[in-house]
Subunit: 149 residues, 2 copies
């Protein structure tokens, strides 16, 4: 058997992170950062638990990846995230000069593209990888929350 | 003698934070967050020291202010910052729904307005308070850095 480390493989790892957020009652968004085919950072949304709007999955993973690399630029890194980043996270990715961003579901309301924020010109973007599964998890979360209230 | 807690007073406190960044070799940007005429959070840029693009003065102060308040929304708070926020920090301020943003110097290159990012519709913005002093400090920093290299 040969393990295939493709976009779906890493996005599935990001989805596992999103599931962890879900279990904690957080909007289920998960991230992994990959360098040389290895996961160097993980993160999931913790805004409610930490009472902190800056605790998005991406922000935590950017800090962790830079920590791992010993430098603040995420050159030759790829971020896999289950939802299109917001303008805050896109702004952080901009400063990190990350090489690749891959996201699953679009965020037509608060995604960085709708809001007008910009990634770094060096950053290549791919979207739609495991979009169905990521959207399904988000939908399930919001339906459950609505039924609780 | 009566202390006057006006915009200049609080911006001067933000400038003191910027001076702390300057002394550490960081791009000199400083912040205070004010609620009920009291400073509830301070911060200065630490991106180099922490090797972390997310360690802008504003991001740290948003986290600290939410921590002080025990809630993630900065309603009835004012952020005083010596430089126009970038899109990452504007995005964080958007999520915080902060009531007021006051900045000193404009950032015509990387400021949130140039980049296209948006604050929350509830947030009122004022600019230009102690602009000269904030710009002077930034200019001094970049001239010194150039001479070092």
């Amino acid at each position: 058997m040969q393990l295939v480390f493709d976009d779906s493989y890493f996005m599935r790892k990001a989805l596992e992170e999103a599931e962890l957020a879900y279990e904690k009652g957080e909007i289920p968004v998960g991230v992994v950062v990959v360098a040389n085919q290895q996961i160097i950072a993980r993160g999931h949304n913790l805004t409610e638990l930490l009472n902190d709007v800056t605790a998005h999955a991406e922000m935590q993973a950017i800090t962790a990846a830079a920590n791992f690399l010993g430098g603040k630029y995420l050159l030759d890194c790829t971020m896999y995230v289950t939802l299109e980043p917001c303008q805050m996270c896109a702004g952080a990715l901009y400063w990190s000069q990350i090489s690749n961003l891959v996201f699953a579901a679009e965020d037509p309301e608060r995604g960085y593209r709708k809001m007008g924020a910009k990634l770094h010109p060096k950053t290549k973007v791919k979207s739609g990888i495991l979009e169905g599964e990521a959207s399904e998890l988000l939908k399930r979360f919001f339906i459950e929350r609505r039924n609780l209230n």
